[in-house]
């Protein structure tokens, strides 16, 4: 009897430790509070070039994550990329003339969409399209622009 009690106690303690470890992994190691993109309203934006923007990339306003990219499609009529994003419903007061640009976090960081607030008194609603957009910077294009301008300069001289 005594031995059975010890076995049951040991097993209970073991299962308890497992649950505590899982709890630690889910709460302390991952961030629970950051927005996951499940609820809220959707906006779309058209870009000439999305760079390496990925699904679930963050949407940020003033550096704060307010939403996630949920879909990236290519529109073969207008030859543009259409990015669908979901914004958390608590941020429902974004002016509807805000602009969206694709930015890079750090030098090696992933790309995200930054929203620059506009001055309109009206707010974005579900399904709206962001009119003012700025595409991702492509390093090769930047370098070639720079090289061409240098070449022109040296030709003039």
């Amino acid at each position: 009897m005594q031995q059975t009690r010890a076995v049951e106690f040991g097993t209970g303690l073991f299962v308890f430790m497992g649950v505590v470890a899982l709890f630690f992994l889910t709460t302390r190691v991952t961030s629970f509070d950051s927005y996951s993109g499940d609820e809220g309203y959707t906006l779309t934006a058209r870009f000439d070039h999305v760079g390496t923007l990925k699904l679930r990339a963050p949407i940020s306003v003033a550096g704060v994550t307010v939403g996630r990219v949920t879909d990236i499609q290519f529109d073969d009529d207008r030859l543009e990329a259409v990015v669908t994003m979901r914004i958390a419903s608590e941020y429902d007061q974004l002016p509807n003339d805000s602009d969206a640009s694709i930015l890079t976090a750090g030098i090696l960081g992933g790309q995200y969409i930054g929203l620059g607030p506009g001055g309109s008194p009206d707010f974005f609603e579900d399904g709206d399209e962001i009119e003012f957009t700025q595409s991702a910077l492509v390093l090769e294009q930047l370098i070639s622009t720079y090289l061409f301008s240098q070449a022109e300069k040296s030709e003039k001289e």
Binding site: T4, V7, T11, F14, V15, M17, G18, A21, V29, S34
Partner: protein, 260 residues
């Protein structure tokens, strides 16, 4: 040349036969599971002997793997000036790969061998035929509870291993090497995703638990009833389980990454 070819064919056929009979054995165990579930006392005893008795080796290994991960990670990352990402690197490596895989390998060595030799000895000492004589099905009474016990214990051990590893990495990285504590946790929380990283490790450990448990009870149950046969069954358990875990790990990783 011709002889070599026939030998290869025979060996392959042998492998396929073993695989097939282990799958049939799995079906027999699954059919016997309802019986075992009605006697939770038997399962609890097996969770104790496979899980609780493996705790010490799992906790110590996890802790030292975490320590060395932080040391190596810090050494490499500081060359790129990215020592602050140590927490993320250590946590991702642990929850995605090292936790499930190393736990499964240790589990095969600690608990799998114990299961195989125990059941093998029962066969060698005619305890299993004795049960059959008394109209007790040994698969229901002996094999199924051990299988279920190991299947339950393995995922729990894997999360304990990962948690201990992260504790070890924190101790080495923050306390000894001196990475900023806030950065350590913040980078970890920013990079580790619940579904993609933590849960993929848990799914892996569940599959590994099934594989190791099945191979151990299968080898033990089908061992040759001699002292040498039991020894060989124990060896085969470790070899086959380790190989199965590593191969399954590759397949599961490819599948889980491809799904995202």
């Amino acid at each position: 040349m011709r002889r070599l070819f026939t030998e290869i064919v025979y060996t392959l056929r042998g492998y396929l036969e073993t695989f097939g009979s282990s799958m049939l054995f799995l079906l027999r165990i699954l059919a016997a599971c309802p019986y075992a579930l009605k006697r939770p006392g038997l399962i609890i005893k097996q969770v104790y002997s496979t899980g609780v008795l493996s705790l010490v080796i799992i906790i110590l290994s996890g802790f030292f793997v975490g320590l060395v991960l932080a040391l190596q990670g810090h050494n490499t990352l500081s060359r790129f000036g990215a020592a602050e990402t140590l927490g993320a690197v250590a946590a991702l490596a642990l929850v995605r790969e090292l936790g499930p895989v190393v736990t499964a390998l240790l589990f095969a060595g600690r608990a799998g061998t114990a299961l195989a030799s125990e059941i093998g000895l029962m066969r060698a000492t005619d305890q299993l035929s004795g049960m059959e004589m008394m109209a007790v099905d040994p698969v229901k009474r002996v094999v199924a509870p051990r299988f279920l016990g190991a299947v339950i214990a393995m995922p729990l051990l894997a999360v304990i291993f990962s948690a201990m590893g992260i504790f070890g990495a924190w101790l080495e990285g923050v306390i000894i090497v001196g990475v900023d504590e806030g950065q350590f946790w913040a980078q970890m929380q920013a990079q580790v995703e619940l579904h993609e990283d933590v849960m993929s490790g848990v799914y892996k450990s569940i599959v590994f638990g099934f594989a190791v448990a099945l191979l151990s009870v299968f080898e033990g149950y089908n061992s040759i009833p001699t002292a040498e046969g039991v020894g060989r069954a124990t060896t085969r358990t470790v070899v086959e389980s380790s190989l199965a875990v590593l191969v399954l790990n590759f397949i599961l990783t490819a599948w889980l990454i491809g799904e995202v």
